[in-house]
């Protein structure tokens, strides 16, 4: 697998406060990667350093073997910076054409490229429109379109679906999902269910430190079921505990439960046994997740 991003011993200070402390990780070409953490954890700082927007105090950061400020010239790296807006004075077509020209496209090719990326986000009918004439969601889609110019190898999306209505958030997730075979996405978001759907690998930042650097689907996770119930009897938990494979059942929140089990040899799969129990007791479930949810893994 080819190494795309390598970060070693990264420190960043704002005044006397460390925003990032000894952050180390590597990102290889492949499935989308989630960058998560509470507010103020250092996600945007890390994102800004990788994009070359802010300098760092110490450590090594390389993107495709180059320092972040030089990676811009290779056009293999792109990003959707949080809250960045296009110039309100020019049409979205003109601005994306300009960006494509900066990436080495000729005047004619850059126009074609701007149309291509705008059609990818469903804005092909709004080419000559200026950013202020678009809704918040549409402006976000234009910003995503600019990140797709030139088909880069890595795209970092900072809060790509924040502020979008469910339909357009779904559209963006589809774009990421469809392109993830060719492009490695790094997604920063507070929507853990969204990250769970898209990402295999998680970078979890807390107080400027990288706490987790793991894959969502691991051997350990196969011994868990996360369950959200609509309706169940009072002795629901004790009935599940009576199953031979179950090690522990815990209530996470509301009607959400985490079942830890060990698959016994020569027995039917545990999830089949569990569904039969639900059916026999007329329990209604709304969601069944194989493993722990991202939220339960991290918090």
């Amino acid at each position: 697998m080819s190494l795309l991003i390598k970060v070693e011993g990264l420190y960043k200070k704002f005044g006397n406060k460390y925003a990032l402390k000894d952050v180390n990780f590597e990102i290889f070409k492949g499935e989308p990667i989630a960058l998560v953490g509470p507010n103020g954890a250092g996600k945007t700082t890390l994102f800004s350093i990788l994009c070359g927007y802010i300098p760092y105090n110490s450590g090594q950061v390389s993107i495709l073997g180059e320092s972040p400020s030089h990676s811009a010239t290779k056009h293999a790296f792109s990003a959707l910076p949080q809250d960045a807006q296009l110039d309100p004075k020019y049409s979205i077509e003109k601005q994306l054409k300009f960006y494509a020209q900066l990436q080495g496209f000729s005047a004619k090719q850059s126009l074609i490229e701007s149309h291509r990326v705008l059609s990818m986000v469903g804005l092909e009918d709004n080419l000559t429109v200026k950013p202020l004439e678009l809704s918040h969601g549409m402006r976000k889609r234009v910003a995503i379109a600019q990140s797709l110019i030139g088909s880069p190898q890595i795209i970092m999306l900072d809060e790509a679906t924040a502020g979008l209505d469910p339909k357009h958030a779904k559209d963006i997730r589809e774009i990421v999902s469809n392109l993830s075979n060719d492009i490695t996405f790094v997604l920063s978001s507070h929507d853990l269910s969204e990250l769970e759907r898209l990402c295999e690998q998680v970078l979890y930042l807390e107080n400027g430190e990288l706490k987790e650097h793991q894959t969502l689907v691991s051997q350990d996770d196969c011994s868990y079921l996360t369950l959200r119930m609509k309706h169940h009897s009072d002795n629901f938990m004790s009935d599940i505990m009576n199953l031979a494979s179950v090690i522990h059942v815990s209530k996470i929140q509301g009607k959400e439960y985490l079942i830890q089990y060990k698959q016994l040899a020569n027995t039917e799969p545990f999830d089949v046994t569990f569904l039969k129990l639900c059916h026999d007791n007329q329990w209604l479930y709304s969601q069944l997740v194989n493993g722990k949810t991202l939220e339960n893994q991290l918090f």
Partner: protein, 273 residues
């Protein structure tokens, strides 16, 4: 290192910069204001003053005054319209250069647009692209006003000699060089402040405060008058006489431009967006 500085990207930034003035509503409003001001200057000042200057009465009176101001060369010019144009432009165009170039990167930085651009171009490319874009804009405007001045001369004198045309090229070159440090100093201010409006305020504050401080130190502590050479336009008074002083006409303004741009590049490379 050179592979990180692409002239094609700089050209793309320059061309986009030109459209900011010539193909945007705001740019056309600014351009209209510029044209109106110059129409007034041509109609009320250059038109009337040229007749007055070319009269023998004025030449007799002005001989002594122009001699003291080292401006005698200007009285020898064939076209009085060019004399007036030069005297007005040398002092007025730097102000226009400041007004045209006060927002090179500030608004884009405030809005976050700079982040999109810097994913595709280096900071140096952006800085120099924007600077040269402004230089091209100011050059175009100088060229147009100079042509208008020659047109006025043609109407008044019925002909324009080759010597006057060569003199016009020289005026064009000198005016461009005069405006360069003003545009470069705005490039520097733009990387230091985050708001376009603040850039003009900060520029004049630094200019006035520094002039006062240096003046006071000069009067009461020690001779620091050489510090005035850091100020854009410091040499204009010495250049106005067209006496062929290369230090004043070329070396000082070009050195100032280079120094401002190098400082701007150094600061911009290390600043956070």
């Amino acid at each position: 290192m050179l592979s990180h500085f692409s002239s094609s990207r700089v050209w793309a930034i320059i061309f986009f910069e030109l459209t900011r003035l010539f193909a945007s509503k705001r740019g056309l409003v600014v351009l209209s204001a510029f044209v109106c001001v110059w129409l007034l200057i041509f109609y009320f000042i250059i038109g009337y003053s040229a007749d007055f200057i070319s009269s023998n009465n004025f030449k007799d009176i002005a001989q002594q005054t122009f001699s003291e101001l080292n401006l005698l060369t200007l009285l020898e010019w064939e076209l009085p319209e060019l004399t007036i144009y030069w005297l007005i432009s040398a002092y007025l165009l730097p102000t226009f250069a400041l007004l045209f170039s006060y927002d090179q990167t500030c608004s884009d930085r405030e809005r976050g647009t700079l982040r999109f651009i810097l994913l595709r171009a280096s900071r140096s490319e952006l800085l120099y692209g924007r600077f040269f874009g402004q230089v091209f804009i100011v050059c175009t405007l100088i060229f147009i006003t100079l042509l208008a001045s020659l047109f006025f001369s043609l109407i008044n004198q019925q002909s324009v000699s080759m010597a006057s045309l060569i003199l016009s090229v020289s005026i064009l070159l000198k005016l461009i060089i005069i405006t360069l440090p003003f545009i470069a100093s705005m490039s520097l201010i733009n990387v230091l402040v985050k708001s376009a409006k603040m850039s003009l305020v900060v520029y004049f504050l630094i200019y006035i405060a520094s002039a006062i401080v240096i003046g006071l130190l000069n009067d009461y502590v020690m001779d620091l008058s050489y510090l005035f050479y850091f100020f854009p336009g410091e040499q204009i008074e010495s250049t106005i006489g067209f006496d062929g002083n290369y230090l004043n006409e070329y070396v000082i303004p070009l050195t100032q431009t280079l120094v401002y741009l190098l400082i701007a590049q150094y600061v911009f490379k290390r600043s956070s967006l």
